[in-house]
């Protein structure tokens, strides 16, 4: 008996992603929201003043929002940025490779800007750990974000 391969988890996400999220303008809005969410997480303690419980609830809401937006983005791009060759056709492989090239250039630019800032202002009151903490969730899913931003609307039959 032939054994069928289980469907990858990120492919299942495409089914639970709302239809509006597949439109390019919606994908771009989600990318902006995803990029801003780590900064919003930083605002949680400021908004909640001294109420620690409120800060934790607010931070949790931002975190859940980040995860939901990320899941929708992966679903709306049908996980093509993270799929192995076996799940893609030749155009999709070329598109994925181009997305990784663009992501590499963006990361290179961000690292260069960071290097210049920390070189010019060695005593800047910005902890390097905090900067990398903010960049990490952005850089980690950058190929998905670049694909969601650049991919045109699906063609109609």
């Amino acid at each position: 008996m032939m054994k069928t391969q289980p469907e990858p988890l990120n492919f299942k996400l495409a089914r639970v992603t709302p239809l509006w999220a597949f439109k390019q303008y919606a994908r771009r809005a989600l990318v902006i929201a995803l990029m801003l969410s780590p900064f919003a997480l930083l605002l949680a303690p400021l908004i909640s003043s001294n109420n620690q419980l409120f800060a934790v609830v607010l931070a949790s809401l931002f975190l859940i929002g980040y995860i939901v937006i990320l899941a929708w983005l992966i679903g709306a791009t049908r996980a093509r940025a993270d799929s192995p060759d076996a799940y893609l056709d030749e155009r999709e492989i070329a598109m994925r490779n181009e997305v990784y090239l663009k992501s590499f250039r963006i990361i290179g630019a961000l690292v260069s800007v960071g290097f210049v800032i920390f070189t010019v202002f060695p005593d800047a009151p910005v902890p390097a750990r905090g900067v990398f903490g903010l960049l990490f969730p952005i850089v980690l899913f950058l190929p998905t974000c670049v694909l969601a931003w650049t991919q045109p609307d699906p063609l109609e039959e």
Partner: protein, 89 residues
């Protein structure tokens, strides 16, 4: 010395839309037959994506036509003109 262009412009015309319509096929059916995504068929038909040699051969085998009957570097003449053209004496 002039700088080389950033992208290589390739113009490739194709008859995929006509061939698919003649056989009353949907993009999905053609995509399934040659093992590619349905969106890729749309990109091919619009000339936004140029196929690899392997995909061109798959399409050629599916339509049972030579590759040059489906793809050309110069615009195709309408099929009706090609079929019904009166030969000059």
């Amino acid at each position: 010395m002039s700088r080389p262009p950033k992208t290589i412009e390739i113009t490739l015309y194709n008859r995929l839309t006509v061939l698919r319509a003649e056989r009353d096929l949907t993009r999905q059916q053609l995509a399934d037959a040659v093992g590619i995504n349905v969106q890729t068929i749309g990109y091919l038909e619009r000339g936004d994506y140029h196929p690899s040699l392997e995909l061109a051969f798959k399409l050629s085998e599916f339509f049972k036509l030579p590759i040059e009957a489906m793809f050309s570097r110069t615009p195709f003449k309408p099929l009706s003109e090609t079929v019904y053209r009166k030969e000059s004496p």
